[in-house]
Structure formats: C-alpha cells, structure tokens
C-alpha cells in the first residue's frame, strides 16, 4: 500500500469535531460567510435619511460606529420600552421554558443554538436586564444580565438578521411571546447606529424614490405590463387592456413589484390581468393599476416602524387621489401583515374608502371592513363560489400541486381556506404537506424579512430545509411537481430552494393556475400554458410518469 492513511483516532483527534459544551453567553461570535447579508450601501442609507451612512464590512473589526453608540442604543431601548408595551412585556415574562427552542426553521436547519428563538430574544433580554432591571444590575451574569459590549452588538446584528420574523415560534410559547416582534424592535435599534443590510436598505430607498423595490420607473412598469398584454394575446388570442391610474375606477389593484419584474411571478401578474379582463368583459368590473403605487411589498417593515409607515402611505394616498371605492391586493406576503397589523392605525383610518363589496356577487368583505383592502384569493374564491368564472381545470391536469402557506398571510392574517379553495377549483390534483408544516404551523421559505439576498445563500438553503423536506415528502409520496404559494418573496426564493433540495418541483402563484384554467370570452384554442409550454406534451409527460410510477 502507498501512503499510510491516518487512523480514525488520529483523524478525530486532529479535527475538533465535537464542539465544547459551554454556556451560550460564553460562545464567541463567529461571523460566517453565507450566513449574513452585505452591509447597506451608504447611498441608500443617506437617501432615506437614516443615521450613520458609511461603507462598512461585517468581517472587519471596526464597524465604524458613532462614538456614543452605547448611549444611542440605551436611549433607543428606553424610549421603545415606554412606547411599545409589548416589548416591555416580552422582555419581562419569558420563563425560559424552551417550548419555542426547536420550532425555528433557522435553528432546525443551521443547527446553531443561537438560532433558538429563546436565545435570539435573550441576546436583547440580557442587555435589558443589565440596563433596566435592579436584579440584573445587582447580580449581573448570575441573573442572565450582561452589558452591551461591541461583541454583543455584533451578535445582535448577526442573529437578528438570521430571523425572518415568521412568528412560528410564538405559536408554541405559553405566554404568547412573539420573537418576531423582538427582532423587529432589535433591528430598529441597530438602524439607529447604522447597522443595516443592503438587501433591505436599497430596495427601501428605491421604493421611496421610484415607488417600487427594484427602482423601476413608471414607464418601464408600463412597458412590462404591455409586454404581458402581447404575451397573453399570443397564448390565448385575446387582447387584454389594463388601465393605469384611472380616476373614478371602482377598485385600485396593488401587488408586489416582484410579480411584474421577476419570473415566475410574471405569470401570476399575467393571471391577474386575464382575470380582470374576463370580469370586465362579462360583468363590467372596473379595476385600475397604478405606476405610483407600484409596490405592495414593504421592506420598510424590516427597517423600522417609521420607514414602514412612509412606504405604506402611498397605498391610501393613491386610492384617495384616484377616488376608488376600495383596494384589491395581489399575492404578497409581508404586505398583508403590514396591512392587517399596522396600516389602519398607521396611515388610516381610510374613511374616504367604502367597505369592500364585490360588485359582481354582492359579497361584503367584513374582514376588510376597517383596512378597505381585500386579498385577491378572497376575491377569486368568492367569484368561484358564486359560479362567476368559466373554468377548465383540465388545462392544469398535468400538475400535482401542493400549497405552501406563506408565514404572513397565514400567521399574520389567518388566510388558510381561500387559496386552497381556489386551487381545488382550478386543479384536479392537490395534496397537502404534513400537518405540522402547513397552516399556522407552516415553515418559512427561509428567505423572509429581507433575507432573500444571494450572498447569504447558505442561510437561506439551511433555513428553508424544513419547508423543502415536507415538499420532498409529498413529491416522493404523491408525485407532486408544483408548489403553489401566494407570496412574491416565495416565488423568488422557493425556486432556488427547490433547485437545491427537490429539483423536480416547480413554483407557481395561485393566479397563474387560475389563469391557465380560465376560459376567456372569444379565446383561440389554448394549446400552451402561460409559460409557453405545450399542453399536450405536458400531459403526455405526466401520464408517462404516472405509468412508470
């Protein structure tokens, strides 16, 4: 034999394969590539008027903080404890029972204990005890308290940007502590000293200046929709005619810009346009798009309450300017959390709008009585329920569909049945993922809350593992080949996640499925779907797979 191989014992000795068992506070911070997003571009920070715009690198020792950063954070903490009762309560009442510990997809996927929700919150709580409680001041570490050092601050930044604010953990806490709220609060503090990430700051700045996260200007927005018009005509023989900023329209439609500018969301955007055209032809529905309110998403939500409010304001402002009756919202995730949780009190009340009523069915959307904004799956479900759509689900026959509950519409607004009802009416083959991975207990895509950058791919892929694992299960068990969702971040993030874990499964928005099934008045023979794939071929392929299986 050639060179002698090291014995296993030698190998094991050489590799420190068993990390030492130490208290979490003693575990030094190890900032790893692939787990964090790049620091914010100072230009974007400056555009937004946020503090301490400068280039900095998380891997450098010097984060170029303002000299009095400790004081800034302390005062910011104090101010918010007074302002947000929830934060104060969440700081005080955790009994460290651990019920939330193993419920976070980032902990489950990365295996890093500091991604246990209880420890994520302890990062801030330990400083709270030190700065704001008598016992903490007195007993220090024995009481789980520690002063805010530079290392602690860095740890905040690293782990608060490894939380997608998905709220899954809060479901399991006997006290209802919402770690997502703690992360939101913590990120707001970090922003006070200029610790942001570019994947959030630049979209926010774009949105502030141009109306949407990608910074696409109004004419390009319209160009894109015009292209969809041509594309729809090519595939269906029907020319749809979207309206822009029509004063006095009945309904203003707002969706995340991802639907307009990124695949496969683009097919969902085409789906909305076909649905509106159908409803206009048949029932005279009057819907308008806006290139001003061209973004439903709100990355301001991931920055601070103030920034969220600024970006959200244009929805009501545009509705008011156009004089519409109510607002219809597209398939987005966090947009709905902002609408349901904050918009009404932040930029409302929108007294100038009507309680939404579906003009075609007469259904009054009580759930939107206050916000005046209806989710498109609620709207479409209502149309289907009342027999108002002409559907041919056979065009989706080659699909075996499962549904991912996006964190925000599910846990943030309780939207469970409507998307499923719609899917079941436009597709014949629908399969649920296991119960502890859907509905309230759904697992995050791994890329929420502004974490869907490229550079933190390892975080996204490991954090998305629990979701992907459940998809893999239904793929193997039932042959599922399509993952439906109602969120633009999902449509951007899940294809990549699938690519890595279950490459046989593709991703779609619900209204792409609707549009493929919807018969338009005067349509030509529909030989392809919206993606331009030949329906006969897809069907033959699917049948072949079933035969073999």
């Amino acid at each position: 034999m050639a060179e002698k191989q090291p014995t296993p014992k030698e190998m094991l000795d050489r590799i420190d394969y068993q990390p030492p068992h130490v208290d979490w506070m003693e575990t030094p911070l190890d900032i790893r590539k692939g787990m964090y997003c790049y620091a914010a571009n100072p230009k974007s920070v400056a555009t937004l008027g946020l503090p301490n715009a400068r280039p900095w690198n998380p891997l450098d020792a010097d984060w170029k903080l303002p000299e009095n950063w400790q004081q800034i954070i302390h005062e910011g903490f104090k101010e918010r404890l007074e302002r947000f009762r929830s934060v104060k309560v969440f700081m005080d009442i955790c009994v460290r029972c651990g019920a939330c510990a193993d419920k976070c997809h980032y902990f489950i996927g990365t295996g890093d204990p500091k991604n246990m929700p209880v420890l994520r919150a302890e990062l801030l709580r330990s400083v709270y005890r030190n700065d704001f409680t008598r016992l903490g001041k007195l007993l220090g570490k024995a009481n789980g308290a520690r002063p805010l050092t530079l290392d602690v601050l860095k740890e905040w930044w690293y782990y608060l940007f490894q939380c997608s604010e998905c709220r899954r953990c809060s479901l399991f806490c006997p006290y209802g502590i919402d770690t997502a709220e703690i992360t939101i609060f913590g990120r707001e503090l970090l922003n006070l000293v200029g610790l942001n990430i570019d994947w959030i700051a630049t979209p926010v700045s774009n949105c502030y200046m141009n109306g949407n996260h990608l910074g696409i200007q109004p004419h390009a927005f319209k160009d894109m929709l015009d292209f969809f018009v041509d594309d729809i005509e090519e595939k269906t023989g029907v020319k749809v005619a979207p309206k822009y900023m029509k004063k006095g329209a009945d309904i203003l439609f707002i969706t995340p810009s991802g639907d307009v500018f990124a695949d496969p969301g683009t097919y969902t955007a085409m789906g909305y346009m076909m649905l509106f055209h159908y409803l206009e032809e048949k029932y005279g529905l009057d819907v308008t798009w806006s290139t001003y309110a061209s973004e439903g998403g709100n990355f301001g939500f991931f920055t601070s309450h103030e920034t969220m409010k600024r970006l959200n304001a244009k929805m009501y402002a545009e509705a008011k300017r156009l004089g519409v009756k109510w607002i219809l919202g597209g398939e987005c995730g966090h947009m709905w959390r902002v609408i349901n949780q904050y918009m009404d009190t932040m930029n409302g009340p929108a007294d100038f709008l009507d309680v939404p009523v579906n003009p075609i069915t007469g259904t009054r959307f009580e759930s939107a009585r206050s916000t005046k904004m209806v989710h498109i799956t609620e709207f479409t479900a209502d149309l289907i329920r009342n027999g108002k759509l002409d559907l041919d689900p056979a065009r989706n026959d080659h699909l075996k569909v499962t549904y991912h509950d996006s964190c925000n519409p599910s846990r943030g607004m309780g939207l469970f049945e409507e998307p499923r009802y719609v899917i079941n009416n436009v597709c014949k083959h629908f399969y649920e993922m296991p119960a502890n991975t859907i509905r309230e207990q759904t697992f995050c895509c791994g890329s929420g809350a502004g974490l869907n950058a490229g550079e933190n791919m390892e975080l996204r892929l490991s954090g998305g593992l629990p979701r992907a694992n459940a998809v893999k299960h239904v793929h193997e068990k039932y042959g599922v080949n399509m993952l439906a969702c109602v969120c633009a971040i999902d449509r951007a993030a899940l294809p990549t996640l699938m690519d890595y874990w279950v490459p046989e499964v593709q991703v779609t928005g619900v209204h792409e499925l609707v549009a493929n099934a919807l018969n338009l008045p005067g349509q030509a023979e529909r030989t392809t779907n919206l993606r331009g794939e030949d329906l006969e071929e897809l069907k033959a392929q699917a049948e072949g797979e079933t035969d073999e299986g």
Binding site: Q5, T7, P8, K9, M11, L12, I15, Y17, Q18, P19, H21, T27, R32, G34, M35, A101, D102, F107, I108, G109, T110, G111, D112, P113, M116, L214, A220, D223, M224, F227, F228, D231, F261, A262, D263, T266, P434, N436, T437, G454, E455, M457, E458, L461, S462, L465, P466, N469, A470, H473, A492, P495, T496, D499, Y500, W501
Partner: protein, 177 residues
C-alpha cells in the same frame, strides 16, 4: 468476502447504528445534538431523521452489495445538509471515518484473530469508499450553492426583462448558466 465479520456486524447492527448516529450528531453543538437525537418527528427534525435514514442505508450497503446508487442515496441527504451548514469538508465527512473506530472498539476481542483482522481490512476499504463518495457529493453541493448564489437574481429578473424585449440584444450582461 468478509462473511464472519459481516454476520457479527449484522447481529450488533442496532448498537452500531445507534453509536454511529450519536457520533455523527456530535458534529453539532451540545444543545443541537440533544435535539437531533430526541425529536423523532421527521418533519420537525429533518436533519436528525435524514441523518438516521442515511446511516441505515449505508449500513445496508456496508454489509451488502455496495451498490453505487444506494451509497449515493444514503450519503446525499447528509452531505447536502452539511454543505449548507458551514461545516468544512473535513468536519462534514468525519462521521464516516468514525465508523471504523466504532467497529474496532466493539469487536476489539474478535479482531485479534488474523483472519478477522484481514476481513476488517476489506471492510475499511468499503468505509473509505463511502468517504470518497461523500467528498464528491459535498463538493458537488458546494458548487451548486455557489452557482445559485451567482446566478439566481440575474437569471430571474434578467430573463423576465429579456422576454419583454427591454434588454438590448447582444449585451454582455447576460447571465452565464
């Protein structure tokens, strides 16, 4: 073939699997290892359950056919997870070598016989095969991650814009596959 040793291993299979699994999850911090061992629901604990399943498959092959596809099926889920968990290739594959140590300790007495020792030598070659395949899979996964990192965003938005004819033909910004 190492028949005598194989039948010994088969008799103690449950013990070996459990020891091997325990040592495999030692790659993680203490609290994580405890969770990986104790949570039995495969959807609540995909890392633990994929690891356990992978180990079972590898055990089948160790004492069986050494079928390349089956070995890959056993290793892939474990290495695919480790490739995105910031584990170095060495730390990610150490668990494979640990099997040698486990077997050696378990059969210390038996291995003193010359024939058994020879059989063990064959078996070690099989374990080395696992390790080499493991490295390959790990590296393949890393390449995939880097590829996704580099091309994801450009692919999705660029494609949409290009379809819409909003990008001039022949630009050199086109993402490489």
């Amino acid at each position: 073939m190492a028949e005598a040793l194989i039948s010994l291993i088969q008799k103690k299979r449950a013990t070996i699997v459990s020891k091997w699994f325990d040592s495999t999850v030692q790659a993680y911090p203490h609290d994580t290892a405890v969770f990986l061992k104790s949570q039995k629901d495969q959807f609540a604990n995909p890392v633990g359950s994929s690891t356990r399943q992978g180990i079972e498959t590898l055990m089948d092959q160790l004492v069986g056919e050494m079928a390349p596809d089956a070995i890959k099926a056993g290793l892939d889920p474990i290495m695919r997870i480790r490739a995105v968990q910031s584990l170095s290739p060495a730390r990610a594959t150490t668990f494979i070598f640990a099997l040698k140590q486990i077997l050696r300790e378990l059969f210390r007495k038996e291995l003193q016989e010359a024939d058994m020792a020879r059989q063990f030598f064959d078996l070690e070659a099989r374990i080395d095969r696992f390790a080499l395949d493991g490295f390959d899979i790990y590296m393949g996964c890393r390449e995939r991650v880097l590829d996704l990192k580099a091309n994801e965003m450009r692919n999705r938005t660029f494609r949409a814009f290009k379809r819409a004819g909003l990008v001039a033909e022949g630009t050199d910004n086109e993402p490489k596959e």
